[in-house]
Amino acid sequence: MGRYIVKRILWLIPVVLGVAILIFTIMYFVPGDPAQIILGASATQKEIATLRQTMGLNDPYILQLGRFLKSTFLQLDFGSSYVNHVPVFQALTERFPRTALIAIVCCIFQIVLGIPMGIQAAVHQNKWQDRTLVVLAMVGISIPSFWLAQMMILLFSFKLGWLPAFGITSWKSYIMPCFCSMLMGVANQTRFTRTYMLEQIRSDYVVTARAKGLGEHTIIYKHALSNTLIPLITGIGGDFGAALGGTVIIENVFSIPGIGQYMVNAIGNRDYPVVRGSVVFLSIAFSIIMLLVDLGYAFIDPRIKAQYIAGSRKKAKKEASTNG
């Protein structure tokens, strides 16, 4: 098992490296001169050329790429923003907790609300509970988060005055952003769980379990749910990773200084170090989450765990026989 974890961690290196090279190349070939943007329309060509030289933009592609990879991976230095000269890593670490908090809360609600609701819908298929939950899930999926955000601000901030409309002054500031972000995730989770649970409920082993007189609660929560957890966890992991970089609209509407907002501003400003640094940072975070999801499989499904252990034993046996 330990070898598997190490192996998976080592696999992160080419993935992140590939992402870094890709994003560098894309940004390099995107039209638009950062020096021109920084200096504005009134700058002369000479001034632009001088700034390009200072920023190292005149160096060949390979040299710039090598410099970027070296500083990013060997020195953990993502460079400094062209626009404000603030180190990118520092800005990312300041902003990451806010984005991560929203993503974690979404993830928790997906689990504690979405999965039970999906189970209830499946267990009561075609009954009023199922229909109500399916309608609610459809509404949750259909409501655009930016619209919901505006409506919530008008209701809870402007009319009722219960919650702050913007900023990060207290824990209350996160209630509306988290709700808006999680709604679609919970709705999706409900639908997925319902579908997977229905598949399991119709399986032969469930019929057998019922025939053997097992309690309905045990059948659903112990047997059927265990078998649906793999696809559900994969989905939650993917959603969590996407939420880390995808809460741009929510961050913008609620003025939450997170990574999404930071990255979008940087794209508009052609702030290459920020865009590159953010993408690499997110790719590392996403890869780690996916690693945890993979490891989670082993704990959920004994068959997968057995495969890992059997694989390790087989390898050890082979090595022993070779040496012997």
Binding site: V30, P31, G32, D33, P34, Q36, I37, I38, L39, G40, A41, S42, A43, T44, Q45, K46, E47, T50, L51, T54, S81, V83, N84, H85, V86, E94, R95, K127, W128, R131, T132, V135, L136, I143, L148, Q150, M151, M152, I153, L154, L155, S157, F158, K159, G161, W162, P164, A165, F166, G167, I168, N252, F254, S255, I256, P257, Q261, N265, G268, N269
Partner: protein, 549 residues
């Protein structure tokens, strides 16, 4: 069946509750959340029991991002830095008058050479005395950072003549050189700057009347008034460094424009001085005549930017033909563009200047050199040797809502006279790169907007000396134009007359087609009785009249 109905009912209830937040807000609508901005503040003022505020909260549409004093002058920095944390040698008031700040005096010794005397008691918030060496250091650092090189291009060198005196030698004798240099570069103590671990990015130390108390990147900034501000002589104090009763300035970063407007309505922020509130939200604060609605205070100002159409007059474009340029000028109905896009929030420019500029000639602006006339446009097109539908022009512009709409309208007007127009709306980076193309073939028409310290400074695109190609920004090498530009640009010969002469020539040759300038509004809650702005449209809280809520 009943259960199905119940589930449908629940779904309807959920949807209805989501919609409950809908509905436009009307001024004066009472709300437990709204700080009764209008009501209580107005009543208090009327009864004469109001007390001056000690705190003000401003809304910013973008983050400061860094407090390094020599970065791009984006709106948020103008609101937060300018004359609050950092100071310059001299600032400009809203009407363009020089307002000395750190400089005690500035006198012209000879053409392009200026004697500057500093106040000898200037200290930053760390207590370091500012000397002539710090001025030279600040200009050097500004150049090293590189973002303000367009402003420091006028500086040749400094010569220190004493601890608090120095001579400034400018590279050219441009009319904007002195004010550009005095105003753009913030002066800091070399000792404080070198002691800073992050080049003042989060720990600024300036000489201004306020210091940074708290900064949450992307969210808020809090400034507090210095107890030991160096300028104790109120009579010598610049307008910009006025503090009055305001001991604390809070800035809230709210990037979404409708949210910013809402924050103002709720009283979460007292004022939005610069960019931010979108014109679609103006109706919440002003009536159709742009008078403040009850509960708000509004200060109109003229935006320094003027939108114009640059014409590629080089050999790479058919617009080298003067008759064709005139055809385009006659084909565009500027008044209709302004009325349709901005209503009363913009005004047509008949010449390349606006009332924002001190050298503005209202008589010149009163008559349109090319009044809207499709027939005349067709005639000129024919005169240029083109038949209707034969010509296709490339128009480039930036991906800004009102620009893309203006471009579409121009396209329609040109189509009407038989000129096809291909519009490219690009985001800023690509637009600037295309605009700066050196081949002269990337565009024919460029819908752009520029500003400057005066009309000549704004029209730098006409100055071939600013380009290394030997031609100006319109790909044009016209000695008469260059001579007129230089005359209007030089400090010694700059005057309203020489500027008017230049503008007349530009109009006559139809090198640039002026379109419109926009009007802006600083909007505040009712407790802000009077709004005073500087030339950068930054609030000067100490000079404004703000009452406690």
């Amino acid at each position: 069946m009943k259960k199905e109905l119940l589930s449908i009912f629940l779904a309807v209830c959920l949807t209805a509750s989501a919609f409950a937040g809908c509905g436009s807000l009307t001024t004066g609508q009472s709300s437990s959340a709204a700080p009764a901005a209008s009501g209580s503040a107005s009543t208090a003022a009327a009864s004469g029991t109001s007390t001056p505020a000690t705190e003000v909260t401003e809304g910013l549409s973008m983050d400061v991002e860094s407090f390094n004093p020599w970065l791009m002058a984006q709106d948020a920095r103008q609101q937060v830095y300018y004359n609050h944390i950092y100071e310059n040698l001299a600032n400009l008031t809203l009407d363009g008058k020089r307002d000395l700040v750190m400089a005690k005096s500035v006198t012209a010794e000879s053409s392009g050479v200026y004697d500057i005397e500093l106040w000898n008691n200037i200290t930053d918030s760390n207590g370091n005395n500012i000397t002539a060496d710090d001025v030279i250091f600040s200009f050097d650092q500004c150049n090293a950072v590189g973002q303000l090189s367009w402003a420091t291009r006028y500086l040749d060198h400094f010569e220190k003549t004493g601890d608090y005196t120095l001579k400034m030698y400018t590279k050219d004798e441009s009319s904007v050189a002195l004010d550009m240099l005095l105003k753009t570069v913030f002066i800091v103590s070399q000792k404080s700057y070198e002691a800073s671990s992050d080049q003042f990015a989060t720990t600024p130390v300036g000489t201004g009347p306020y210091t940074l108390k708290e900064y949450v990147p992307g969210s808020s900034v809090v400034l507090t008034a210095r107890d030991n501000y160096w300028q104790t002589d109120d009579s010598a104090r610049s307008q910009a460094s006025a503090v009055g009763s305001i001991k604390t300035i809070n800035y809230k970063v709210i990037t979404d424009s409708s949210q910013l407007a809402l924050a103002l309505e709720m009283g979460d922020v007292d004022i939005v001085a610069g960019q931010g509130v979108s014109n679609t939200d103006y109706s919440n604060f002003m009536d159709d005549s742009r008078n403040a609605k009850s509960g708000f205070t509004v200060e109109p100002y003229i935006n320094a930017l003027i939108a114009h159409l640059e014409l590629n007059c080089g050999d790479g474009s058919p617009l080298a033909n003067e008759s064709l340029r005139e055809a385009i000028a006659y084909a565009i109905d500027k008044q209709a563009i302004v009325t349709n896009l901005f209503g009363t929030d913009a005004a047509v420019c008949n010449t390349n200047s606006s009332p924002y500029y001190a050298d503005y000639d209202s008589a010149l602006d009163a008559t349109a050199p090319y009044p809207y006339s499709p027939d005349k446009a067709k005639e000129k097109l024919k005169e240029a040797g083109y038949t209707e539908g034969q010509l296709t022009l490339n128009l480039i512009t930036q991906n800004i809502d009102y620009f893309s709409k203006t471009a579409t309208l121009i396209q329609a007007y040109l189509e009407q006279v038989g000129i096809h127009c291909k519009v490219s709306v690009d985001e800023d980076a690509l637009f600037q790169t295309t605009r700066a193309d050196t081949t002269g073939k990337a565009w024919d028409l460029c819908l752009n907007t520029t500003m400057g310290l005066n009309s000549t400074g704004r029209l730098g695109v006409l100055d071939k000396n600013a380009y290394s190609t030997g031609k100006n920004g319109l790909y044009l090498d016209d000695p008469t134009l260059q001579e007129k530009y230089s005359t209007a640009n030089l400090a010694a010969t700059y005057s309203k007359d020489t500027v008017t002469d230049l503008l007349k020539y530009v109009d006559e040759k139809c090198y640039l087609i002026p379109l419109y300038y926009r009007k802006g509004y600083a909007i505040a809650t009712a407790n802000v009785k009077k709004i005073v702005l500087d030339r950068n449209i930054a609030l000067i809280p100490g000079a404004s009249e703000i009452e406690a809520k």
